[in-house]
Symmetry: C2
């Protein structure tokens, strides 16, 4: 029997309809593997070492030995996106156009080049190196937060063409926005609504309930619970949630980064093993910045494999159809992790 | 300069960043043509005439000559989806599971087989035939509305694998839901909010303003305005909006159907000619049913070509990045229509 499930935070309804997982295989759109993407160095790749001049000037780089900017020798390198969705220069110039409202597309759009190695998947980076990627992200958060025009910063990662990738070299992205997006506002309002009633954070409650029932949990570390959310929108959707209440990722210090890397890479390795390195999106949800609005948050990371295309139904309603229950996907993810151990 | 644009109804912000249309071509995911899908009859297709036994029993069919159900001779045929996202039988059984809420996946999920011809694109159906497709939809709306458990009905159409299609034979779908989806609620709330201030319907105002400025308009008919919305989420997003205030599609009578067909097929032909029959989603937005909540609506159809993949940014924020302004897409759509005339 299919089920409708409501996300207690955003109040979105999701249909869990396992009958749909028996559809003909052609319903899953073809996807390429993210593993073994050719050579470790590709002379034509703008993110490979030696090609630093092909990107805008770096805003941050970690180098094992000190050196000039925009030259090889870096481990992790952050540059503005060459094709930015938003620009840093200028002012917002809010204005009306008849019944419509608009403002300039002010913001930041940066690329985090995660490794010099062209073919090294993010999930397979050494933990310490992956921790540096998250530290670069944390550094950029702190720096971008100083710009009072920005209200929200998103860290995200796309893997595979179907999930929006245009360049194979392992990278993630950061976008700073001059407004708090509707979906984030809805999440915050959902959290307040929940807290008003119970004086508790829904993500804290979720961690408690998921640990207790365990049927949607993949694994846990000292600091993080990794599980399939009750109202998963996508097959094998996986969340990485801090076990203690932490409003913002930006509050973490350097020593906290290896634990983030361990949790996120662990989640991705479960997915890669079970599903053969599918395309996916990863998005960090964290507290808005520079707003006077009273807020609380519980930062976390959502990983959404992209196994099937979303269609007119999702677009027309915002309701997603998930062809597999999170309990079943958790079971399969745990099993393939156990097999390969 | 990229721009942020706010949808006056849903209050969603959209980034219009034309700089992104200069990205390398590989950013557009491959898509197959929707035209010339093989033979007019495919013996292996469950939607082709003669294979009626391969679908669930029809709930509606238009036959030029009277005949038994589930046999050939139909022009348009509606059957329950063989792999439904929701089931008609049963009750909702709303319940809590600790902090979570859920209910049974009660609803209807039907397939509208638009023509017996396996390879005839929807945009190329004779207008009178296409009008019958919309009439079948209208009939199903009225019938499904009698079921008091249902609160919202969506008519939608996917074209191309990337847009969620699994079977090539031309078809659209109807889903009846036991709740009003969040996105629809947000649209209704946005409309009330707008009306509270101005005592006018935002879609009516939009029709007026778009007709006046004309730079986003593709064409208009006696009853419909066809234009690119100010805050287009997708490149070449196209709306078909009734020029007079009409809350619900279900209120239209049989004589109104050719005008709907003319407007929608005209929009699709503009898109097909300009973009080479790209994958797209089409979704009808109309008034919820069986709810006591005071509502007003202005039904319309949204067509969203799927030229690029959506990624972690859209998923993480609900904010879409559109690589082309609606003014420019309207210009291109009008031009290719003029060229082929």
């Amino acid at each position: 029997m299919p089920e409708l499930r409501k996300n207690p935070v955003t109040r979105e309804w999701v249909i869990v309809a396992e009958t749909r997982s028996q559809r003909p295989l052609e319903t899953t759109i073809p996807h390429e593997s993210s593993i073994s993407k050719g050579p470790a160095f590709d002379p034509d790749c703008p993110f490979c070492p030696g090609n630093e001049s092909q990107t805008p000037r770096e805003v941050l780089a970690f180098r094992s030995t000190p050196g000039a900017g925009d030259t090889p020798g870096w481990n992790v390198r952050v540059t503005p996106n060459k094709y930015p969705a938003l620009l840093v220069e200028g002012d917002l110039a809010r204005r009306g156009l008849g019944m419509y409202d608009c403002m300039n597309g002010i913001g930041a759009h940066e690329v985090v080049i995660e490794t010099p190695a062209h073919n090294l998947p993010f999930a397979d980076l050494p933990t310490a190196h992956c921790a540096d990627v998250f530290w670069a992200c944390r550094e950029r958060f702190v720096d971008l937060s100083r710009d009072r025009r920005f209200k929200y910063i998103l860290f995200f990662r796309n893997e595979g063409r179907v999930a929006g990738v245009s360049l194979d070299h392992p990278h993630s992205q950061i976008i700073a926005l001059p407004m708090v997006p509707m979906d984030v506002m809805a999440e915050i309002e959902g959290m307040s609504h929940y807290a008003e009633y119970r004086d508790r954070c829904p993500y804290c409650d979720m961690v408690d309930q998921e640990r207790e029932s365990a049927d949607r949990v993949l694994f846990e570390t000292a600091s993080y619970l990794i599980f399939e959310p009750f109202a998963s929108r996508f097959a094998f959707e996986t969340w990485v949630v801090p076990k203690i209440h932490q409003p913002s990722f930006a509050e973490l210090d350097y020593d906290a980064m290896p634990a983030v890397a361990e949790a996120v890479q662990g989640a991705l390795r479960h997915i890669d093993r079970c599903l053969g390195s599918p395309p996916y999106n990863l998005a960090m949800h964290t507290m808005p910045i520079n707003t006077s609005r009273p807020e609380d948050f519980h930062w976390h990371i959502q990983i959404t494999p992209r196994l099937a295309a979303t269609g007119g139904f999702e677009l027309g309603t915002g309701v997603y159809i998930n062809p597999i229950s999170p309990e079943e996907s958790a079971r399969r993810l745990r099993e393939s992790a156990a097999e390969t151990r």
